[in-house]
């Protein structure tokens, strides 16, 4: 057993529902008890979907366990097939049904249904949501394309085309800004003369999936969902995978370069000079962003890209990176190494909270979990990854990817921070009763003032060294993210010299001593 307070990912069958909900003309029958239908609200409330996900739950109850739950599965399969008439029917167990071992997939295949069936095995007790999404999409693609796989030693014969083409793989419902990313990347590719053959799973039908082998290459846009399928397509249909994730100005250019190289076309980069991020970041008012301490946590796709953007395109200092995507821990560790920090690989949000507390960043780029932690600690925060909430599905066009995405990132990261001159004034006049470092940035409204950690309570004497009142007050004038270090240094300085009381002079003596 594993103690779980909050979870970054849902169970794997929620990943299966994400794929079903992303697509057209598929239906999922989920063998599940009542209660598991809560998954509907993830889509209809968090993403404001206007229809229920295409899922029928068998809804077994305790009284059904004595009789035959298999009968219930068969009845549900038949009525779902008849009512929804999908092109493909997917069948899976939720965690409880997995224990019953009714094998609903096998039942469905033997039920004489007038629809192709794709059985899914979700491994509820060892896997999680993103794996479930990846596995579901992969099984669906494999089942649909099984008959088109060329015999060993032969190559798939593509229809000849005038223009190079790619598939975009990975965007899904409940992903982070997938809707807008797809629009941005499709238009980017079209602007360089690349035809987008199929986008999947988002908005694709099984018929569309049958056309996947017709593209020259696959763009693995969200590796958590796309990587397994892209790698299978590469093996079976000789489609290379374009794996640069175009989040950030530099990454978008690298992505285009990889597209050009893979498809053998020349791409004129000068046409993209209108992206605002590079100039905004060089603009003199952005100087104050230099060295802002940033902590980055989320799914691997976003963390890898955003850490680079924060460091090289915003001029922040990335003080920590981490991910809950254990499947991609290696890639995140590489990025951490490049940045000279440790990677935190965990799905325990309390560990992430502890990391934030000890690293004392000035901005957290994380998920909704870290947004809450940051709010509690009085640290600025922007959400960059799932798990997301209703406010992360904005009405406006707000991609993370491509050149417009880079512009969006600039705004998103700057918005929660205290602005340059405002910050100077806060530092100069710390005792100002209405304008101090417990006040929120002036453009963010009232009510979310800094909380406990930024202003620590009364200083408890350690090792017989006490803080004089005046020194305590002086300590509060030091920016909170270096305050802890200043305090420790001063106490060490006092101990080394056998002082029993720290006054203002000691504080500045210590500063000069350690500042050398």
């Amino acid at each position: 057993m594993e103690l779980t307070v909050w979870t970054y990912e849902g169970p794997p069958h929620v990943g299966a529902i994400r794929i079903a909900a992303s697509m057209r003309d598929v239906h999922l029958v989920l063998h599940a008890p009542q209660g598991d239908t809560y998954a509907d609200l993830l889509f209809t409330m968090i993403e404001r979907e206007p229809s229920r996900p295409p899922v029928t739950y068998t809804t077994f109850q305790a009284r059904d366990l004595g009789a035959s739950t298999a009968e219930l599965v068969l009845g549900t399969l038949r009525s779902a097939a008849e009512r929804f008439r999908p092109q493909v029917l997917m069948v899976a167990d939720s965690c409880t049904a997995e224990l019953l071992q009714d094998q609903p997939g096998t039942l469905a295949q033997g039920a004489g249904l007038n629809v192709p069936v794709v059985p899914l095995e979700m491994a509820a007790y060892s896997r999680k949501e993103n794996w479930g999404a990846s596995e579901t999409f992969f099984q669906l693609v494999r089942a649909l394309l099984a008959k088109r796989v060329p015999p060993p030693g032969e190559r798939y014969q593509r229809q000849p085309r005038d223009v190079p083409s790619v598939n975009i793989i990975g965007p899904s419902k409940l992903g982070f800004r997938c809707r807008d990313d797809v629009r941005e990347i499709v238009s980017l590719l079209e602007s360089v003369g690349v035809h987008v053959n199929v986008v999947a799973p988002l908005s694709a039908s099984p018929t569309d999936l049958m056309r996947l082998p017709e593209a020259d290459a696959n763009v693995s846009l969200y590796p958590e969902v796309a990587a397994a399928t892209c790698s299978w397509l590469a093996r079976q249909f000789h489609q290379p995978t374009i794996s640069t994730v175009p989040i950030g100005y530099g990454a978008t250019r690298d992505f285009l370069a990889e597209v050009g190289e893979t498809l053998g076309i020349d791409i004129d980069m000068t046409q993209f000079d209108d992206c605002r991020l590079p100039w905004y970041s060089r603009s003199i008012d952005s100087t104050y962003l230099t060295g802002k301490r940033a902590f980055v946590f989320g799914d691997a796709t976003h963390v890898i890209a955003i850490a680079k953007v924060a460091q090289s395109e915003m001029g922040f200092e990335v003080v920590g990176v981490g991910t809950y995507s254990r499947e991609m821990a290696r890639e995140v560790r590489l990025v951490a190494k490049e940045l000279g920090v440790d990677a935190l690989i965990t799905d325990n949000y309390l560990e992430v909270e502890r990391a934030i507390e000890s690293l004392k960043p000035e901005i957290v780029l994380g998920t909704q979990m870290e947004r809450h932690t940051a709010k509690r600690l009085g640290i600025a925060c922007a959400v960059i990854s799932t798990p997301a909430h209703v406010q992360d599905y904005p009405a406006r066009y707000s991609p993370q990817m491509g050149f417009e995405g880079a512009n969006v990132l600039f705004d998103t990261f700057v918005h929660p921070l205290v602005m340059g001159l405002e910050e100077h004034l806060l530092n100069m006049f710390r005792d100002d009763f209405e304008f101090n470092d417990q006040a929120v940035p002036s453009h963010l409204g009232a009510g979310e003032g800094h909380a406990s950690v930024a202003q620590s309570a009364e200083i408890v004497p350690i090792n017989g060294v006490a803080w004089a009142d005046c020194a305590q007050k002086e300590l509060q004038k030091i920016p909170f993210f270096v305050r802890g270090k200043a305090r420790r240094n001063t106490e060490r300085f006092a101990l080394d010299r056998g002082l029993t009381t720290i006054d203002v002079e000691t504080l500045y003596e210590a500063k000069a001593h350690f500042g050398r």
């Binding site: 057993m1 779980t4 169970p11 069958h13 029928t56 009845g75 909704q368």
Partner: protein, 428 residues
């Protein structure tokens, strides 16, 4: 799927005819009630023994409200627990130790059973007894099931309270015991009201601290605050308490009848009741009159969810002039609804249980002005041009008592008013 329509129990023939439906349901399981129970009982911790789905469900129902480290968590079963490689009881002890290390001041630990723990027949009662011995009276450990195969949504509270009811100390003191989670402000209002009538001893279950458990016995008159507490009522009557039959305290009329049931049980004379009730009742009626024009004559249907559907339909029909078309409730309990029977409106189709797709078809055909339903299907119905009210809000809001009668009506008036006000999009 339509598994069939079964006529109801002949014993209930005198009440309106209830139709039982079986099939796909769109309701939360009993674990969801942890969301309000852990806020109410402030020194208790709820440890679900289940799967990642359980953790995800409670978190999703709670709307990711991470303001503090919550007083609930899930011991997520892993492959090695199921394969017998790990001893589930040893694992549970380890997890409980972890919880207690983080939260040394806990007074009560609830071990909450889930679908997977029920299916693998993990004996949580046994585990609770063992943990209680280990902690030698410093920690009360209570097991109950919130599993979806046994409980729906609010029934989780019944399951929790009925388990806790066995723990209540015995006493024959004369007292009124109000059972069911109420907002603190409402408890205070009711206490003032009962005191004014002359009922001095008023206790609440659950209380705000799990240490201060009410004593129960032959002198205890039990008044249910919600209708979904049938099992808890049974445990209390088994322990000698008297269950009072009353409508539920929703609306001015419901609240008056509810407090009058208590007054009758304590032989309070009518004048004292009149004096205590007159002013708040007049306030409630005045406030309701202001909202009535917005609700009068509008039709409403309830999909089964919170188990509050029957008294809500009664209130909306009798005090707000709405016309209920279809009222469905997850399960029908004739005993806890006895006090409502006389007031149940005519011309309503009553359903117990659910078969989602046919129910949605009926809704599309009857097109009520307002539909009360679970969170998952509210937006899809809105997209089909039907106005909705989420039932979960009715569980999370203070709606009982005289001074909340108009707040309750307002919850139903607001979506209708919004439809009038908005000049974008289309609802009808």
């Amino acid at each position: 799927m339509t598994a069939g329509v079964i006529a109801c129990d002949p014993a209930e023939q005198q009440s309106p005819r209830w139709v039982t439906e079986r099939g796909q349901r769109a309701v939360f399981c009993g674990l969801t009630s942890i969301v309000w129970l852990h806020r109410k009982i402030q020194d208790a911790f709820f440890l679900v023994v289940g799967s990642r789905t359980c953790a995800h469900l409670v978190q999703s129902a709670a709307g990711v409200m991470i303001f503090a480290e919550p007083r609930f968590a899930t011991a997520v079963l892993q492959d090695r627990d199921l394969a017998g490689m790990a001893d589930c009881h040893e694992e549970l002890d380890r997890v409980v130790a972890e919880v207690l290390a983080r939260r040394p001041n806990l007074k009560t630990l609830f071990l909450v059973g889930s679908c997977p723990s029920e299916v693998i027949k993990l004996d949580l009662d046994n585990a609770a007894a063992r943990l209680r011995r280990q902690h030698k009276g410093s920690l009360r450990v209570v097991a109950y099931s919130g599993s979806g195969i046994e409980t729906t949504f609010t029934q989780g509270e019944d399951s929790c309270l009925s388990a806790l009811a066995h723990e209540l100390p015995s006493s024959n003191v004369d007292q009124l015991l109000v059972v069911g989670t109420l907002a603190d402000v409402i408890e205070d209002q009711f206490t003032r009201l009962f005191n004014a009538m002359g009922i001095a001893n008023v206790a609440y279950f659950p209380g705000r601290q799990s240490e201060a458990l009410p004593e129960v016995g032959a002198g205890t008159r039990v008044l249910l605050a919600q209708q979904y507490l049938g099992d808890t009522a049974r445990v209390l009557t088994d322990r000698g308490c008297t269950l009072l039959e009353a409508p539920y305290p929703l609306g001015a009329e419901g609240t008056e009848a509810w407090v009058r049931a208590a007054a009758a049980a304590f032989d309070i004379d009518d004048t004292a009741v009149e004096m205590a009730v007159a002013a708040p009742k007049a306030r409630a009626e005045k406030a309701l009159r202001a909202l009535r024009p917005e609700l009068d004559g509008r039709t409403i249907s309830f999909l089964p969810d919170s188990q509050l559907e029957v008294p809500l339909a009664r209130f909306l029909q009798r005090e707000c002039g709405m016309q209920p078309l279809e009222v469905a409730t997850p399960f029908y309990d004739g005993r806890t609804l006895a006090g409502e029977q006389a007031w149940l409106p005519d011309g309503v189709n009553w359903f117990e249980g659910q078969d989602l797709d046919p129910a949605l078809d009926r809704l599309r055909a009857s097109r009520p002005d307002l539909t009360v339903c679970g969170l998952g299907i509210a937006n899809p119905l809105e997209a089909e041009g039907l106005r909705t009210k989420w039932s979960i809000e009715l569980v999370f809001s203070p709606i009982q008592g005289f001074d909340q009668a108009a707040d309750l009506a307002e919850l139903f008036a607001r979506p209708l008013r919004r439809e009038q006000q908005l000049e974008v999009g289309a609802w009808s």
